[in-house]
Amino acid sequence: MQQQFRRMEIEEFRIMEEPYYLPIADEVALFESAYRQHIPVLLKGPTGCGKTRFVEYMSWRLHRHIGNRDEEGVPLITVACHEDLTASDLVGRYLLEGEETRWIDGPITRAVKVGAICYLDEVVEARKDTTVLIHPLADHRRMLPIEKRGELLEAADGFLLVMSFNPGYQSVLKDFKHSTRQRFIALEFYYPSRDQEAEIVQNESGCPAPIARDLAKLAEKVRHLKAHGLSEGVSTRLLVYAGKLVADGITPLRACETAIVWALTDDKEVQGAMHEVVDSIFGE
């Protein structure tokens, strides 16, 4: 049977086609500079505002423009962090093969070796003892100790550590240690301006331009409700979803209802208010 999916090693993953990314401010230049200077980067911002997309874009762009010595450019290795993530999960572990044991590199180790961008998504979710592991990697040493093998790896030139987190909704029990925090420069992401967001939504969803503009307008209004019943404003991602539904033939009212009003909250009153806003923009 023919394989329907593509299989690859993680360090082979690089972004070959230019991802669509609309720069919001000078983040591209800052990131490039940080990359050249080997300074780890922390991306802060609400969910769905383009952090992941930005990293993808940068990985593609660095590959193209900086022109690393390695012809294959800058791979992107992403690790989604969760509370059960162990050091072995990141660094690597021994596996049993017959009677033999074989060492398998974890994602960080692989990134360190090939000089990839290592993107730790939602890093606050990880246990603090796991986070500490990256400390020597994230300062001037750029070293990864592999305890189990008694090795110390020096990161390849193209390696860069990037982490993301959303300062808004994590609970009070979770925050960074200062020693972790102060190893990164931070880029703050926020929702794009109305015009930029309209452009993004139109591009991403393929919906008509007026709809994209109205969606961006709606987002602006809905975001006013943050701290008044909404704990987080509507993300660009949800707007793109709404746009995609419209592009696929769903009426804008319904699309917004499902992708925005209901998706955002269960509070009836807030839903009611959002519904009225949607109606004011897309209603008859």
């Binding site: 059960d84 162990t86 072995s88 572990r93 021994y94 596996l95 049993l96 044991t101 060492w103 305890e147 189990k148 093998r149 008694g150 609970s171 009070v172 029990l173 109205d214 307008k217 209004k221 809905v222 006013h224 409700l225 701290a227 008044h228 019943g229 704990s231 009153e269 807030v270 009611g272 208010a273 959002m274 009225e276 806003v277 949607v278 109606d279 004011s280 923009i281 897309f282 209603g283 008859e284």
Partner: protein, 969 residues
């Protein structure tokens, strides 16, 4: 000697023996009576005299004097009944003697006023009352002599029947009934008074409800309704009473409120019928709640029946809608409409105020009315989002150039104004005219923007505009200039078809309409509006405000002339001569709210420094404010001297409880340092109380309680969390163990942490809940829930705080976190009050529960000290996570908490400092405010501290536990 003569003489002697005067009075009276009575009647009368005289000469004398005078009003055979009734009032006591005597003395007057039967009825009532209280009877007798003037004949009987019932069942209220009843009834339709009384009689007989109370309630309720409808409603209630009298009473009680919400009597009948259906299925408790509008179902039916939308019923949604459209600072202000068709309470206020009426019933159906509310909110927030207040003096518009330079020339020097706009307005001698024009032009522009920004509202906007035009005053009743402006206003409402103007002056109007048209361009700015208004001003100024009839020729519809951006000159007209009428620009339609040119937003201030900033730059004054110190001393003096003023009283009251005093520093942002030991805080247990409040609240919110408890229990499983990666434990974690084995095999310094344990990990969370008990929490929630609590009046902020606390406690008990509940208030830095409702390590019991009911508003809000005290408690408590939740209704405020009473900077900075101190110690602060305006100061106070503004206060009980669950996840 005749028989009669004998009868008289036989009694005279014994009477003479009692009192000589009595005999004389007897003979005088008897001679008058004798011709009118037959023998037996006269004999009875004599017997009465004898009997009374033997009991009390005074009563007998009054009787004998009155008899000849009452005779004309009575049939001969009724004399005995009269005599009898009086004598029955006369018991043994001197009080009852007085009562009987007054009855006889007043009888003549009573008979003159009231029908005989009524007087007898009254006497029976007095007799009944006298069994309970002779004073009450006497007072009612006095009141009764004023009855006739107030109570119409046909109502009397019913009224007195009710009087009898009161005398029997609740005699205490008899005086009230006689004093107030007649006036109360005067507000009821004349044909309905006796049916109403009969109905009340019936209801009260069956239910033993207190008749006068019911009468008062029903009269109050009916007073809200037009009198022609009274009869029908009472009739309906009468039919209902046949089924269930209590329910009938509730129906009428709320009829006034219900009627206001429904458009006609027909809907009232439907309302009643739904209640009846309920009665059959669910019985009377449910139905009573329905008619009290105390049930969701009632609300549902009411809103279904009424096309009108009550603001209250959509308050939550509209408030959020306003915020969504206009941002944080938008505040909805509900106010009635005065005689001039304007909102009655206009505030000059910071923030973006949107004026709305308490109910919207311009249109037949609910949706249309809700849309009308939305249009109004959108228009008024639109002024802020579309830049009405962004005018900068002298800037050009897209279409019109600034005329300020030109206009300044023609004016005497020194044009000033507090804001850019005011400076501009000052260029126009007829300021009112200019303001009126500017409002209408700018509103027209805003409405064009509205259509663009909110296409989904455009249909509703059209409808609202058309409706507004229908309400406009008749053109020809206005002065000519007013009519001119009125036409412009109609054009601004996008209804040019409603324009009428004398044909001979049409060129001028057409020109003006052309100018107004400029702001219909979607890229027109406020600068275009301002300049267009100025051009219109120039034209309007030339039109005399003479009575419109002086204008010759017929009035015809008009159209805008095509003028390229106001460049051409207006035509010259021959205006009619005449005496001018006083001029006032026609008021704009209500939905546009108040365009207040006075509204000074900081962004529009001319380029002088803002007031706030300059005060900051001022050299620092000595920190010790002499006045403040004096105040403090005064208070302290009061404390020591234990004077007689209330303060001292409270101190005395407090001395009975144990007060622990602590001292706390306070942050002075000007000095950038602490004032050491500045505040004295007295901790004391909150007043004790019983369990009623707690239980009632649980009962009231039982659904919500169940729901929150459930949700908090879901949070609980962590109690049995699986702890992984331990060196020792109950179970082996397979993944880890395998890894260990492999590592061992590979000789790679393995970690032996492969055990896991299902452990009873205590959720180690402690929270201190700090409640604002300042005086301002006494405020009612703008009568939002009029039926909430008939006994205690509408709910106050503190009530909601308390209810939320009860819910919070239930939730916390479910999850098992440690919690303390405290209230704070105080007055001055020496007397910060800290009330302990429950300590962190105290168990929840009847004592702690009882205290909650006793939380009452007290004085000021010195938050800093209270926060520091709560922090001290939390620090000492062994928990991994410590949370401080502060619920307040407004900004910190106290005597001497800031340089002057109005300064908030000091208080805010100190509070912020106190919160940060807590944060440093690992305490997580969370602020909740129920002050809709609170966002601004919270933003300042809580830059990196979590907070939430709860705009709709009544949702606090629901939100509080939710916020906590979120924070302490």
């Amino acid at each position: 000697m005749t028989g009669k003569q004998q009868l008289i003489e036989r009694s005279t002697a014994p009477l003479g023996e009692i009192q000589a005067l009595l005999a004389e009075q007897f003979i005088d009276a008897a001679h008058v009576l004798a011709p009118n009575l037959d023998d037996s009647q006269l004999g009875q009368w004599c017997d009465h005299c004898m009997d009374l005289a033997s009991r009390s000469p005074r009563v007998a004398s009054a009787f004998m004097l009155a008899a000849p005078q009452v005779l004309p009003y009575l049939e001969a055979d009724q004399l005995a009944s009269w005599a009898d009734r009086g004598s029955r009032l006369c018991g043994g006591s001197w009080k009852s003697i007085g009562l009987a005597a007054s009855f006889y003395e007043g009888s003549t007057r009573l008979f003159a006023l009231l029908p005989t039967e009524a007087v007898f009825q009254l006497a029976d009532i007095l007799r009944e009352l006298s069994l309970h209280s002779i004073e009450t009877a006497a007072r009612c007798l006095t009141q009764a002599s004023t009855l006739r003037n107030k109570v119409p004949q046909e109502v009397l009987t019913a009224f007195l029947d009710l009087g009898m019932l009161v005398a029997r069942n609740s005699w205490i209220h008899a005086t009230l009934l006689f004093e107030k009843g007649p006036t109360q009834l005067a507000g009821i339709a004349a044909n309905t008074r006796s049916p109403l009384l009969v109905l009340i009689h019936r209801i009260c007989t069956d239910t033993r409800e207190q008749p006068h109370g019911l009468l008062t309630d029903l009269c109050d309720s009916l007073a809200e309704i037009d009198t022609p409808e009274h009869h029908k409603l009472v009739d309906l209630a009468g039919q209902l009473a046949l089924k269930n009298p209590t329910v009938a009473a509730e129906f009428l009680r709320s009829a006034g409120v219900v009627r206001k919400r429904l458009s006609d009597l027909q809907s009232m009948t439907l309302w009643l019928e739904s209640g009846l259906a309920l009665l059959e299925v669910h019985g009377d408790k449910t139905t009573q709640a329905y008619f009290r509008i105390d049930s969701a179902y009632a609300e549902e039916i009411l809103s279904a029946l009424s096309g009108s939308v009550q603001f209250e019923s959509v308050a939550g949604v509209l408030q959020l809608y306003g915020k969504a459209l206009g941002g944080d600072d938008v505040r909805l202000h509900i106010t009635g409409v005065n005689d001039h068709g304007r909102y009655s309470q206009v505030q000059v206020d910071e923030g973006e105020v949107v004026y709305l009426p308490p109910a919207m019933d311009d249109f037949g159906d609910r949706r249309a009315n809700l849309q009308a509310y939305k249009v109004s909110v959108a228009h008024q927030t639109g002024r802020f989002t579309f830049g009405s207040f962004e005018y900068r003096y002298g800037d050009h518009g897209h279409y019109l150039k600034s005329s300020t330079l030109l206009r300044e020339k023609s004016l005497p020097a020194g044009i000033t104004g507090a804001s850019n706009l005011q400076r501009f307005l000052a260029l126009f001698p007829e300021r009112l005219l200019m303001e009126g024009l500017l409002a209408l032009v700018e509103d027209a522009r805003v409405e064009v923007c509205l259509v663009e920004e909110y296409p989904g509202l455009s249909r509703s906007l059209r409808r609202v505009q058309r409706h507004a035009v229908e309400q406009r005053p008749e053109l020809q009743t206005l002065g000519l200039r007013q009519a001119f402006i009125e036409n412009l206003l109609r054009a601004s409402l996008a209804c040019p078809e409603a324009i009428r103007w004398p044909r001979c002056y049409m060129a001028t109007l057409a020109h003006a309409l052309g100018i107004l048209g400029i702001v219909r361009n979607s890229d027109a700015t406020v600068h275009d509006s301002v300049e267009a208004a100025a051009l219109l001003y120039d034209i309007s100024e030339t039109i005399p405000n003479v009575p419109s009839r002086l204008a010759e020729g017929i009035w015809i519809p008009g159209q805008a002339a095509d003028i390229p951006y106001g460049s051409s000159l207006p035509p010259v007209e021959n205006w009619p001569d005449g005496i001018e009428m006083p001029f006032e620009p026609p008021p704009g339609p209500l939905f546009r709210g108040e365009f207040n040119a006075e509204t000074v937003r900081s962004s529009t201030s001319p380029d002088v420094g803002r007031a706030g900033e300059s005060s900051l730059d001022a050299p620092l004054e000595s920190v010790e404010e002499p006045e403040e110190e004096a105040d403090m001393e005064a208070i302290e003096a009061g404390l020591d001297a234990g004077g007689t003023d209330t303060e001292a009283d409270e101190v005395a009251e407090e001395e009975s409880t144990i007060v622990e005093w602590c001292y706390y520093d306070e942050w002075d942002f000007r000095a950038n340092d602490y004032r050491k030991g500045w505040c004295r805080l007295g901790q004391r247990p909150a007043n004790p109380g019983d369990l009623d409040y707690y239980d009632q609240t649980l009962h009231r919110y039982h659904n919500l309680v169940a729901e929150t408890r459930y949700q908090f229990e879901l949070l609980r499983p962590e109690v049995h969390r699986k702890l992984k990666r331990l060196e020792d434990g109950h179970e082996i974690d397979l993944d880890q163990a395998i890894e260990f084995q492999i590592d061992k095999k590979a000789g790679a310094g393995p970690s032996a942490r492969f055990y896991s344990r299902r452990d009873k990990v205590e959720r180690s969370v402690a929270v201190a809940l700090l409640l604002d008990m300042s005086g301002s929490t006494d405020e009612a929630l703008d009568a939002r829930e009029p039926f909430r609590d008939a006994v205690n009046g509408p709910a106050r902020i503190i009530d909601v705080e308390k209810e939320a606390t009860v819910l919070m406690i239930e939730a916390l008990e479910a999850i098992g976190d440690a919690y303390g509940v405290y209230g704070f208030s105080g007055y001055g830095r020496n007397n910060v009050e800290f009330h302990v409702i429950k300590e962190l390590d105290e168990k929840l019991d009847d004592v702690t529960k009882g205290r909650i009911g006793q939380i009452e508003p007290r004085r000021s809000t010195r938050m800093g000290a209270a926060i520091r005290h709560a922090r001290a408690k939390l620090i000492d408590y062994p928990a991994k996570v410590r949370i401080l939740m502060l619920v307040s209704d407004g900004r910190p405020q106290d005597l001497g908490y800031g340089r002057e009473a109005s300064e908030r900077e000091y208080a805010i900075r100190d509070t912020r400092q106190a919160l940060i101190e807590g944060k440093v110690d690992g305490i997580v602060p969370f602020l909740i405010t129920v002050d809709a305006q609170g966002h601004e100061y919270l933003r300042e106070m809580c830059q990196d501290i979590s907070y939430e503004v709860i705009a709709d206060i009544s949702s606090l009980p629901r939100r509080l536990p939710a916020i906590y669950a979120d924070a302490a996840r």
